[in-house]
């Protein structure tokens, strides 16, 4: 009995904490388009809205991926199939609606994607989920490749290279919205994201969700408890397809075009990156990952041609310093925060962050200079960096960059060790308490 009360207390505290964070995140998501409003032209910043919408879609997608990778221990290399195929279905349905063959309220279109995702996942998943581990991973990889191949080869359903397009202004809105402005689609996507996130959160706490975790830990023992692990993996896979399908429908509605890229390896890879960079151990980890990866790919990609190097370095740094993902890193601070010991750490963090920032600056400068020189962009005269134009021929810049990197790096390293020691001290204190 005492156990139950401890649990409830612990649970309550966690829920308070959790819901506070959830609601502020949601609030931020609702308000952001207005915070970055383009007042000069009196309109929404289209790029920001596009990124926000993409983040919402990718969050659902990454969470659905985590139902496999995190909860069920199934590493999939072909998850985009269950976003892409439903996206194709949705876009065909949208065209059918526009042609008057069908009537479905626009707000419920994501459900079309979800259901078709469920069906596709059930179809592919039934044989696939007989296997696990590497065999599963490679089967999904193979299926991903084959579906992508089919999408380029067959035009009837996939529309060939140009893909299938539709107009999202269908006039079937229950709310009387046209869905022409991107901002309306963003709010629709956000609403469905909230629904999907809540559902997936609840799903993790159902018997199925728990058994999926049990299968992940020890698939054989599950059988001696009366369960068929194949059945559990299958259900989990199918439901994951449902949510990926919702993301797919939102994708179709946002871009109003679906091409073979929507089933391709790049997107599948992104699901994996988002999930693991965010962290599989924590439910909201993949959302953090989605935010980061969208920013990395779309924004950094627009600013710098060398984004690949940054992404690469990020991956390696993650593996080295935060194997639990970003969420893992954040959660680590939970107990310290609650016991009010975070101040003790702040100074140490600052000591690492300042030289670290300098090192990063030096690194970015070097990479950008290098990339511009090598790609011959210097013919344009200068590298655009940090808001100013730099002359890549100047040895001062190279020297400065290298110096920043070396000096900042070595100081950060030293301070990092001190921080780690401090951490150990504090963590010991909290675990005892």
């Amino acid at each position: 009995m005492s156990g139950a009360t401890i649990r409830r207390r612990g649970g309550a505290r966690r829920t308070w904490w959790g819901s506070w964070a959830w609601f502020s995140a949601l609030g931020l998501a609702v308000l952001l388009p207005w915070i970055i409003f383009d007042w000069r032209h009196g309109r929404h910043d289209g790029f920001a809205v596009a990124l926000l919408t993409q983040t919402a879609i990718m969050s659902v997608f990454a969470l659905s991926y985590n139902m496999l990778s995190g909860q069920s221990g199934l590493l999939s290399f072909g998850h985009a199939v269950f976003l892409g195929l439903p996206a194709y279905v949705t876009i065909h349905v949208m065209n059918a609606i526009a042609a008057g063959h069908l009537w479905i309220p626009e707000e419920l279109l994501p459900l079309v994607g979800g259901i078709s995702g469920l069906l596709f996942a059930a179809l592919f998943g039934y044989p696939t989920t007989r296997q696990r581990a590497t065999a599963f991973a490679m089967i999904t990889f193979g299926i991903g490749e084959l579906v992508t191949a089919a999408a380029t080869m067959f035009q009837g359903f996939f529309g060939g290279e140009g893909g299938v397009t539709a107009d999202r202004a269908l006039n079937t809105s229950l709310l009387g919205l046209s869905y022409e402005p991107a901002i309306e689609v963003y709010y629709l996507a956000l609403a469905w994201t909230v629904i999907a996130v809540v559902l997936m959160r609840l799903l993790a706490r159902t018997p199925l969700g728990r058994m999926a975790e049990a299968c992940r830990d020890n698939h054989e023992r599950v059988r001696f408890l009366g369960y068929d692990p194949h059945g559990i993996r299958f259900c989990q896979f199918a439901l994951s397809g449902f949510f990926a399908g919702i993301a797919g429908a939102l994708y179709a509605m946002t871009y109003e075009i679906v091409t073979y890229d929507a089933v391709g390896a790049t997107l599948s890879g992104n699901a994996l990156f988002m999930t693991f960079i965010g962290g599989v151990g924590v439910f909201w980890g993949p959302i953090v990952g989605a935010v980061l990866v969208v920013i990395m790919q779309s924004w950094v990609g627009l600013v710098s041609n060398a984004w690949q190097i940054y992404v690469g370095v990020l991956f390696i740094a993650m593996v080295m310093y935060a194997p639990g993902g970003l969420a893992g890193l954040i959660v680590l601070h939970g107990p310290v925060w609650q016991e009010g010991r975070i101040q003790a750490l702040l100074l140490s963090y600052a000591r690492v962050a300042l030289p670290g920032l300098l090192a990063v600056l030096g690194f970015v400068a070097l990479v950008e200079l290098g990339s511009s020189v090598m790609l011959g962009e210097h013919e344009k005269g200068a590298v655009r960096l940090f808001g100013g134009a730099l002359d890549p021929a100047s040895p001062w810049l190279w020297g400065g960059g290298a110096a920043l990197l070396l000096i900042g790096g070595s100081i950060a390293r030293r301070q990092g060790r001190a921080l780690a020691a401090r951490w150990a001290l504090i963590a010991e204190g909290t675990s005892a308490g």
């Binding site: 383009d38 032209h41 309109r43 910043d45 289209g46 790029f47 809205v49 596009a50 990124l51 993409q54 191949a149 380029t152 080869m153 035009q155 060939g160 290279e161 140009g162 893909g163 397009t165 107009d167 022409e180 402005p181 991107a182 994708y251 871009y255 109003e256 075009i257 091409t259 073979y260 890229d261 929507a262 790049t266 790919q297 779309s298 990609g301 627009l302 041609n305 060398a306 984004w307 690949q308 790609l375 011959g376 962009e377 013919e379 344009k380």
Partner: protein, 389 residues
Amino acid sequence: EDSIRIGLTDPMSGAFAQTGQQNSQQAQYLLDSINSKGGALGRTFELVTYDNKLQPSEALIALQSMVDHNIPFVWSNAGSNVAAALIDGVEKHNARDPDHRVLYFTAGSTAPELTNEKCSFWFFRFVPTTEQFAEMLVRALPPEVKKVYLLNPDYLYGQAMQRDSTKFLAQYRPDVQAAGNELIPVGKVKDFSSYIAKIKASGAQALITGNFGPDLSLLIKAGTEAGLDVSYYTVWAGTGGTPTAIGPAGNSRVFALQAFNDNMADEQGDAALKDLVTRFRATHDYDFDAGSWRAMFELLQAAIQKAGSTDPAKVAQVLEGMTSRDMLGHEWAMRAEDHQVLMPYYVSVFTKDVKYDSEHTGLGWKVIKTYEGKDLALPTTCKMKRPAT
């Protein structure tokens, strides 16, 4: 509002970075030369690049960014999938936000449907379609060739190449027999020997192929290595990297469709053009294959000048039906019905016998056949919706 901005979205990173990088560099080079002569409306052109990783969704986000920055001209080259998405995106954007319209053009996406079923008032194409490519290749076949083999990449573009080549063979060369017909997926075949064996067994004298990049290089390498005695009629053998990969073994065997090559200036004797080419060769270590874009930019420049503003609607209206002559003296015309350019195009052979070699291979491109734009006018199915105003 000082400069006239053109937003170029192409793959700037990843496997196709080469295309985007070289496109933007060559465009910049050409725009610099146009700007040095005054630009348009007294303003200079400015090129702003946006990476799209050859993905439609990324291209649409790039489009958003361009719209946010009030960039009136959107330009992309690589990938008909990207172009299709952008046509659609631009069409919708212009309808939904008429105050900030944009004009979109491509000089690289060749799928015929873009100026047929998908044609749009806001979209202009400054490159022939694959249908025209097929026609040009078929008409380039020498009379002694009686058996050809078709080999194309297995997606919409290659399938169209295959279909159209067959169609034009029937039309222009009923005496030629198609000995074989092959579609291969892009980038998946590592060893082309089996295809070579099959081609050899078919007895074909020429190979018509729409393949590009490593696939094309590997195909030709495998063919020359196995001693296959055919001529390669290609669309893309002149593009970056392929001459290097083919190397001397391709001498006089490889033919390519081109809008421009470094040797044309020399043949033509136009001093300005010569200067443009030699300066480019001095500062870049790849071929100046986008030289024809000069004519495209000049058309744009003239249209802006004539419209008196950079308003996309006005510029588009003026562009329709506009004609000009390029530096080689051939006519460029923007067909009003479908916004498909009718421009000159050339068939060149890869040979030792040239002044400027390609990519330091010792071999270069020499024009053997010229098509005038009007020669290549094909019917269109475009039903263009023009804006009310």
